[in-house]
Protein backbone atom coordinates (compact mmCIF):
# COMPACT_ATOMS: atom_id res chain seq x y z
CA UNK A 1 0.00 0.00 0.00
CA UNK A 2 2.71 2.49 0.96
CA UNK A 3 4.86 1.27 -1.96
CA UNK A 4 1.94 2.13 -4.26
CA UNK A 5 1.80 5.61 -2.72
CA UNK A 6 5.56 6.06 -3.33
CA UNK A 7 5.22 5.06 -6.99
CA UNK A 8 2.25 7.41 -7.51
CA UNK A 9 4.18 10.24 -5.86
CA UNK A 10 7.23 9.49 -8.05
CA UNK A 11 5.09 9.44 -11.21
CA UNK A 12 3.51 12.79 -10.26
CA UNK A 13 6.94 14.31 -9.64
CA UNK A 14 8.19 13.02 -13.00
CA UNK A 15 5.11 14.44 -14.76
CA UNK A 16 5.54 17.83 -13.08
CA UNK A 17 9.28 17.91 -13.86
CA UNK A 18 8.54 17.16 -17.54
CA UNK A 19 5.71 19.71 -17.66
CA UNK A 20 7.91 22.38 -16.07
CA UNK A 21 10.80 21.87 -18.50
CA UNK A 22 8.41 21.75 -21.49
CA UNK A 23 6.08 24.60 -20.40
CA UNK A 24 5.12 27.18 -23.02
CA UNK A 25 5.48 30.26 -20.83
CA UNK A 26 8.13 31.19 -18.35
CA UNK A 27 5.58 31.86 -15.60
CA UNK A 28 3.93 28.45 -16.06
CA UNK A 29 7.36 26.79 -16.00
CA UNK A 30 8.19 28.45 -12.66
CA UNK A 31 4.78 27.63 -11.11
CA UNK A 32 5.12 23.98 -12.15
CA UNK A 33 8.70 23.91 -10.85
CA UNK A 34 7.56 25.07 -7.39
CA UNK A 35 4.90 22.32 -7.28
CA UNK A 36 7.59 19.85 -8.43
CA UNK A 37 9.84 20.95 -5.56
CA UNK A 38 7.09 20.29 -3.01
CA UNK A 39 6.57 16.75 -4.38
CA UNK A 40 10.34 16.08 -4.28
CA UNK A 41 10.27 17.22 -0.66
CA UNK A 42 7.49 14.69 0.05
CA UNK A 43 9.60 11.98 -1.59
CA UNK A 44 12.42 12.77 0.86
CA UNK A 45 9.91 12.41 3.73
CA UNK A 46 8.99 9.00 2.33
CA UNK A 47 12.68 8.05 2.38
CA UNK A 48 12.80 9.05 6.05
CA UNK A 49 15.21 11.92 5.36
CA UNK A 50 13.26 14.70 7.09
CA UNK A 51 16.30 17.02 7.27
CA UNK A 52 16.63 16.92 3.49
CA UNK A 53 12.86 17.29 3.05
CA UNK A 54 12.90 20.50 5.11
CA UNK A 55 15.84 21.87 3.09
CA UNK A 56 14.21 20.94 -0.23
CA UNK A 57 10.85 22.52 0.70
CA UNK A 58 12.40 25.71 2.10
CA UNK A 59 15.31 26.22 -0.32
CA UNK A 60 14.70 24.01 -3.36
CA UNK A 61 11.03 24.92 -3.84
CA UNK A 62 10.45 28.09 -1.79
CA UNK A 63 13.45 30.40 -2.16
CA UNK A 64 14.36 29.17 -5.65
CA UNK A 65 10.76 29.80 -6.72
CA UNK A 66 10.75 33.38 -5.38
CA UNK A 67 14.13 33.98 -7.03
CA UNK A 68 12.86 32.80 -10.41
CA UNK A 69 9.54 34.65 -10.18
CA UNK A 70 11.51 37.92 -10.17
CA UNK A 71 12.66 37.09 -13.68
CA UNK A 72 9.17 35.98 -14.78
CA UNK A 73 8.02 39.22 -16.46
CA UNK A 74 11.12 39.23 -18.73
CA UNK A 75 9.71 37.02 -21.48
CA UNK A 76 6.24 35.87 -20.51
CA UNK A 77 5.37 34.06 -23.72
CA UNK A 78 8.28 32.31 -25.35
CA UNK A 79 8.36 29.59 -27.96
CA UNK A 80 7.95 25.97 -26.98
CA UNK A 81 11.24 24.20 -26.29
CA UNK A 82 13.12 23.16 -29.41
CA UNK A 83 13.30 19.40 -29.72
CA UNK A 84 16.53 18.97 -31.63
CA UNK A 85 17.76 15.48 -32.36
CA UNK A 86 21.13 15.65 -30.61
CA UNK A 87 20.02 16.86 -27.14
CA UNK A 88 17.13 14.37 -27.08
CA UNK A 89 19.48 11.57 -28.10
CA UNK A 90 22.01 12.55 -25.43
CA UNK A 91 19.24 12.80 -22.80
CA UNK A 92 17.91 9.36 -23.77
CA UNK A 93 21.42 7.90 -23.65
CA UNK A 94 21.97 9.52 -20.23
CA UNK A 95 18.72 8.04 -18.95
CA UNK A 96 19.66 4.59 -20.24
CA UNK A 97 23.14 4.73 -18.71
CA UNK A 98 21.82 5.92 -15.35
CA UNK A 99 19.15 3.21 -15.29
CA UNK A 100 21.87 0.59 -15.83
CA UNK A 101 23.78 2.17 -12.96
CA UNK A 102 20.68 2.18 -10.75
CA UNK A 103 20.09 -1.49 -11.51
CA UNK A 104 23.74 -2.32 -10.78
CA UNK A 105 24.73 -0.23 -7.75
CA UNK A 106 23.86 -1.62 -4.35
CA UNK A 107 22.56 -5.04 -5.37
CA UNK A 108 23.29 -6.04 -1.78
CA UNK A 109 23.81 -3.97 1.35
CA UNK A 110 27.45 -3.03 1.77
CA UNK A 111 29.70 -1.13 4.11
CA UNK A 112 28.50 2.46 4.62
CA UNK A 113 29.75 5.43 6.57
CA UNK A 114 26.39 5.70 8.35
CA UNK A 115 27.15 3.05 10.95
CA UNK A 116 30.54 4.61 11.74
CA UNK A 117 28.93 8.05 12.01
CA UNK A 118 26.49 6.65 14.59
CA UNK A 119 29.28 5.04 16.63
CA UNK A 120 31.07 8.34 17.33
CA UNK A 121 27.91 10.41 17.88
CA UNK A 122 28.76 11.11 21.53
CA UNK A 123 31.88 13.07 20.58
CA UNK A 124 30.23 14.90 17.69
CA UNK A 125 28.08 17.15 19.87
CA UNK A 126 24.69 16.45 18.27
CA UNK A 127 22.12 13.68 18.70
CA UNK A 128 20.84 14.34 15.19
CA UNK A 129 23.36 12.41 13.07
CA UNK A 130 22.81 14.69 10.04
CA UNK A 131 23.81 17.73 12.11
CA UNK A 132 26.78 15.76 13.45
CA UNK A 133 27.93 15.04 9.88
CA UNK A 134 27.44 18.67 8.81
CA UNK A 135 29.09 20.36 11.77
CA UNK A 136 31.60 17.80 13.06
CA UNK A 137 32.65 15.03 10.67
CA UNK A 138 32.45 17.23 7.58
CA UNK A 139 32.87 20.58 9.34
CA UNK A 140 35.50 21.74 6.85
CA UNK A 141 33.13 21.02 3.95
CA UNK A 142 30.24 22.89 5.57
CA UNK A 143 32.50 25.84 6.41
CA UNK A 144 33.56 26.12 2.76
CA UNK A 145 29.90 25.85 1.74
CA UNK A 146 29.03 28.96 3.76
CA UNK A 147 32.01 30.69 2.08
CA UNK A 148 30.62 29.65 -1.33
CA UNK A 149 27.31 31.32 -0.41
CA UNK A 150 29.18 34.55 0.38
CA UNK A 151 31.18 34.40 -2.86
CA UNK A 152 27.94 33.88 -4.81
CA UNK A 153 26.50 37.02 -3.18
CA UNK A 154 29.61 39.02 -4.17
CA UNK A 155 29.22 37.69 -7.74
CA UNK A 156 25.54 38.79 -7.80
CA UNK A 157 26.39 42.23 -6.42
CA UNK A 158 29.21 42.61 -8.95
CA UNK A 159 26.56 42.63 -11.72
CA UNK A 160 25.34 46.04 -10.56
CA UNK A 161 26.28 49.13 -12.54
CA UNK A 162 29.40 50.88 -11.33
CA UNK A 163 27.48 53.76 -9.75
CA UNK A 164 25.15 51.38 -7.86
CA UNK A 165 27.88 49.43 -6.04
CA UNK A 166 27.17 49.53 -2.33
CA UNK A 167 23.71 51.05 -2.91
CA UNK A 168 20.40 49.79 -1.50
CA UNK A 169 19.70 46.19 -2.51
CA UNK A 170 16.57 47.14 -4.44
CA UNK A 171 14.09 49.94 -5.07
CA UNK A 172 11.27 50.29 -2.55
CA UNK A 173 8.04 48.52 -3.36
CA UNK A 174 4.85 50.52 -3.51
CA UNK A 175 2.52 48.91 -0.94
CA UNK A 176 -0.66 50.46 0.48
CA UNK A 177 0.16 51.35 4.12
CA UNK A 178 -2.84 49.64 5.75
CA UNK A 179 -3.36 47.11 2.95
CA UNK A 180 -3.50 43.36 3.02
CA UNK A 181 0.16 42.66 2.23
CA UNK A 182 1.23 45.20 4.83
CA UNK A 183 -0.87 43.48 7.50
CA UNK A 184 0.41 40.05 6.48
CA UNK A 185 3.96 41.39 6.64
CA UNK A 186 3.29 42.44 10.21
CA UNK A 187 1.43 39.31 11.39
CA UNK A 188 3.67 36.54 10.08
CA UNK A 189 7.28 37.57 10.94
CA UNK A 190 6.91 37.11 14.75
CA UNK A 191 5.61 33.56 14.21
CA UNK A 192 8.26 32.94 11.56
CA UNK A 193 11.10 34.21 13.74
CA UNK A 194 10.10 31.80 16.53
CA UNK A 195 9.77 28.93 14.03
CA UNK A 196 13.18 29.67 12.49
CA UNK A 197 14.93 29.88 15.86
CA UNK A 198 13.18 26.66 16.96
CA UNK A 199 14.37 24.84 13.83
CA UNK A 200 17.98 25.90 14.53
CA UNK A 201 17.73 24.92 18.22
CA UNK A 202 16.08 21.57 17.61
CA UNK A 203 18.54 20.72 14.82
CA UNK A 204 21.02 19.39 17.39
CA UNK A 205 18.68 16.57 18.38
CA UNK A 206 15.86 16.38 15.79
CA UNK A 207 15.39 17.27 12.10
CA UNK A 208 16.27 20.93 11.52
CA UNK A 209 19.43 22.98 11.70
CA UNK A 210 21.19 26.15 10.62
CA UNK A 211 20.29 25.87 6.92
CA UNK A 212 16.60 25.06 7.39
CA UNK A 213 16.09 27.55 10.23
CA UNK A 214 18.17 30.19 8.46
CA UNK A 215 15.99 29.85 5.36
CA UNK A 216 12.83 30.49 7.41
CA UNK A 217 14.49 33.58 8.92
CA UNK A 218 15.50 34.73 5.41
CA UNK A 219 11.91 34.30 4.20
CA UNK A 220 10.63 36.46 7.06
CA UNK A 221 13.09 39.24 6.21
CA UNK A 222 12.11 39.02 2.52
CA UNK A 223 8.41 39.20 3.44
CA UNK A 224 9.03 42.25 5.65
CA UNK A 225 10.89 43.90 2.75
CA UNK A 226 8.15 43.04 0.21
CA UNK A 227 5.46 44.36 2.54
CA UNK A 228 7.52 47.53 2.96
CA UNK A 229 7.75 47.06 6.73
CA UNK A 230 11.54 47.40 6.55
CA UNK A 231 13.69 49.02 3.87
CA UNK A 232 16.12 46.94 1.85
CA UNK A 233 19.58 47.38 3.37
CA UNK A 234 22.44 49.26 1.75
CA UNK A 235 24.78 46.60 0.43
CA UNK A 236 27.76 48.77 1.34
CA UNK A 237 26.85 49.14 5.02
CA UNK A 238 29.44 47.82 7.44
CA UNK A 239 26.75 46.31 9.70
CA UNK A 240 25.30 44.21 6.86
CA UNK A 241 28.73 43.00 5.77
CA UNK A 242 29.59 42.08 9.35
CA UNK A 243 26.30 40.14 9.59
CA UNK A 244 27.19 38.23 6.41
CA UNK A 245 30.63 37.07 7.59
CA UNK A 246 29.92 36.65 11.33
CA UNK A 247 28.69 33.03 11.06
CA UNK A 248 31.49 31.65 8.87
CA UNK A 249 34.04 33.60 10.96
CA UNK A 250 32.67 32.10 14.18
CA UNK A 251 32.70 28.63 12.59
CA UNK A 252 36.33 29.09 11.47
CA UNK A 253 37.37 30.39 14.90
CA UNK A 254 35.71 27.41 16.61
CA UNK A 255 37.36 25.09 14.10
CA UNK A 256 40.80 26.57 14.76
CA UNK A 257 40.15 26.29 18.50
CA UNK A 258 39.65 22.57 17.82
CA UNK A 259 43.32 22.27 16.83
CA UNK A 260 44.11 22.87 20.51
CA UNK A 261 42.20 19.63 21.23
CA UNK A 262 43.85 17.65 18.51
CA UNK A 263 41.95 18.21 15.26
CA UNK A 264 40.52 21.03 13.20
CA UNK A 265 36.75 21.24 13.89
CA UNK A 266 37.19 18.86 16.84
CA UNK A 267 35.06 20.26 19.64
CA UNK A 268 36.38 20.75 23.21
CA UNK A 269 35.67 17.55 25.19
CA UNK A 270 32.69 17.98 27.51
CA UNK A 271 31.50 21.10 25.68
CA UNK A 272 30.62 19.52 22.33
CA UNK A 273 26.93 20.38 22.38
CA UNK A 274 27.26 24.05 23.46
CA UNK A 275 29.95 24.53 20.78
CA UNK A 276 27.73 23.01 18.08
CA UNK A 277 24.72 25.09 19.16
CA UNK A 278 26.74 28.34 19.23
CA UNK A 279 28.11 27.69 15.74
CA UNK A 280 24.62 26.71 14.51
CA UNK A 281 23.04 29.97 15.70
CA UNK A 282 25.91 32.06 14.32
CA UNK A 283 25.66 30.29 10.98
CA UNK A 284 21.86 30.59 10.88
CA UNK A 285 21.99 34.39 11.17
CA UNK A 286 24.61 34.74 8.42
CA UNK A 287 22.90 32.16 6.19
CA UNK A 288 19.59 34.01 6.61
CA UNK A 289 21.16 37.35 5.62
CA UNK A 290 23.07 35.83 2.67
CA UNK A 291 20.09 33.90 1.29
CA UNK A 292 17.73 36.88 1.59
CA UNK A 293 20.18 39.20 -0.18
CA UNK A 294 20.85 36.56 -2.87
CA UNK A 295 17.12 36.50 -3.61
CA UNK A 296 16.83 40.30 -3.59
CA UNK A 297 19.57 40.53 -6.22
CA UNK A 298 22.06 43.17 -7.28
CA UNK A 299 21.58 46.80 -6.25
CA UNK A 300 18.85 48.42 -8.39
CA UNK A 301 19.30 46.14 -11.40
CA UNK A 302 16.41 46.26 -13.86
CA UNK A 303 14.01 48.32 -11.78
Amino acid sequence: MSALFDWLLALSALALGLASVAARSRFAAIALFIAYGVLVSLLWVRMGAVDVALAEAAIGAGLTGVLMLQAAPGASAGPAPRLRALPVAVAAATAAALMVAVADIGRAPGETLGARAMAELGRAGADNPVTAVLLSYRGWDTFLETVVLGVALVAVWALAAEAQWGGPATARQRVRPAGLLSTFGRLLPPVGLVTGAYLVWTGASAPGGAFQGGTVLAAMWLLAMMADRVAAPATGSAAIRLLLVAGPALFLAAGLLGTAFGTMFGWPPGFEKPAVLAVEFGLAVSIAATLALLVVGPPQLGR
Binding site: G48, L67, A103, E145
Partner: protein, 100 residues
Protein backbone atom coordinates in the same frame (compact mmCIF):
# COMPACT_ATOMS: atom_id res chain seq x y z
CA UNK B 1 15.72 -6.78 -1.72
CA UNK B 2 14.27 -6.30 -5.18
CA UNK B 3 16.03 -3.75 -7.35
CA UNK B 4 12.92 -1.73 -8.05
CA UNK B 5 11.17 -2.12 -4.70
CA UNK B 6 11.18 1.66 -4.28
CA UNK B 7 10.98 4.29 -7.04
CA UNK B 8 13.45 6.85 -5.68
CA UNK B 9 16.70 6.02 -7.50
CA UNK B 10 14.88 5.17 -10.74
CA UNK B 11 12.93 8.44 -10.64
CA UNK B 12 16.18 10.31 -9.97
CA UNK B 13 17.81 8.76 -13.05
CA UNK B 14 14.86 9.78 -15.27
CA UNK B 15 14.79 13.32 -13.82
CA UNK B 16 18.50 13.80 -14.61
CA UNK B 17 17.71 13.10 -18.28
CA UNK B 18 14.61 15.34 -18.25
CA UNK B 19 16.57 18.18 -16.66
CA UNK B 20 19.43 17.76 -19.12
CA UNK B 21 17.04 17.98 -22.08
CA UNK B 22 15.62 21.19 -20.58
CA UNK B 23 19.08 22.62 -19.93
CA UNK B 24 20.25 22.06 -23.52
CA UNK B 25 17.02 22.53 -25.48
CA UNK B 26 15.24 25.03 -23.20
CA UNK B 27 13.35 27.90 -24.83
CA UNK B 28 14.85 30.69 -22.74
CA UNK B 29 17.39 31.32 -20.02
CA UNK B 30 15.08 30.86 -17.03
CA UNK B 31 13.67 27.60 -18.36
CA UNK B 32 17.22 26.37 -18.96
CA UNK B 33 18.01 27.12 -15.32
CA UNK B 34 14.90 25.15 -14.32
CA UNK B 35 16.26 22.23 -16.33
CA UNK B 36 19.57 22.55 -14.50
CA UNK B 37 17.72 22.44 -11.17
CA UNK B 38 15.54 19.46 -12.15
CA UNK B 39 18.67 17.52 -13.15
CA UNK B 40 20.26 18.47 -9.83
CA UNK B 41 17.34 17.29 -7.71
CA UNK B 42 17.26 14.10 -9.81
CA UNK B 43 20.89 13.41 -8.89
CA UNK B 44 20.09 14.02 -5.22
CA UNK B 45 17.17 11.56 -5.36
CA UNK B 46 19.41 8.96 -7.04
CA UNK B 47 22.02 9.43 -4.33
CA UNK B 48 19.41 9.12 -1.54
CA UNK B 49 17.68 6.13 -3.11
CA UNK B 50 20.90 4.21 -3.78
CA UNK B 51 22.28 4.92 -0.30
CA UNK B 52 19.08 3.52 1.21
CA UNK B 53 19.68 0.33 -0.75
CA UNK B 54 23.33 0.14 0.36
CA UNK B 55 22.34 0.52 3.98
CA UNK B 56 19.83 -2.33 3.88
CA UNK B 57 17.84 -1.81 7.08
CA UNK B 58 17.70 1.86 8.17
CA UNK B 59 19.62 3.00 11.26
CA UNK B 60 17.61 3.71 14.46
CA UNK B 61 17.58 7.41 13.50
CA UNK B 62 16.54 6.83 9.88
CA UNK B 63 18.49 6.58 6.65
CA UNK B 64 22.28 7.04 6.30
CA UNK B 65 23.12 10.54 7.61
CA UNK B 66 26.23 11.06 5.43
CA UNK B 67 24.43 11.27 2.04
CA UNK B 68 21.69 13.35 3.72
CA UNK B 69 24.22 15.96 4.85
CA UNK B 70 25.86 16.01 1.41
CA UNK B 71 22.48 16.49 -0.31
CA UNK B 72 21.64 19.40 2.02
CA UNK B 73 24.99 20.97 1.07
CA UNK B 74 24.14 20.37 -2.58
CA UNK B 75 20.70 22.01 -2.31
CA UNK B 76 22.24 25.14 -0.78
CA UNK B 77 25.03 25.38 -3.36
CA UNK B 78 22.47 24.86 -6.17
CA UNK B 79 20.54 27.88 -4.87
CA UNK B 80 23.74 29.98 -4.94
CA UNK B 81 24.38 28.94 -8.56
CA UNK B 82 20.76 29.67 -9.56
CA UNK B 83 20.93 33.10 -7.92
CA UNK B 84 23.96 34.02 -10.05
CA UNK B 85 22.23 32.56 -13.13
CA UNK B 86 19.03 34.55 -12.57
CA UNK B 87 20.98 37.77 -11.91
CA UNK B 88 22.94 37.22 -15.15
CA UNK B 89 19.72 36.49 -17.09
CA UNK B 90 18.02 39.62 -15.74
CA UNK B 91 21.07 41.73 -16.52
CA UNK B 92 21.22 40.33 -20.05
CA UNK B 93 17.53 41.05 -20.63
CA UNK B 94 17.94 44.62 -19.37
CA UNK B 95 20.75 45.20 -21.86
CA UNK B 96 19.22 43.23 -24.74
CA UNK B 97 15.47 42.54 -24.26
CA UNK B 98 14.36 39.23 -25.79
CA UNK B 99 12.58 39.91 -29.10
CA UNK B 100 9.36 37.95 -28.67
Amino acid sequence: MSLFADPFALLGALLVAVGFAGLVGGADLVRRLIGFNVAGSGLFLMFGGLSGRMLGAPLPTGPDPVPQAMVITGIVVALAAIAIGIALARGLETVAPPDE
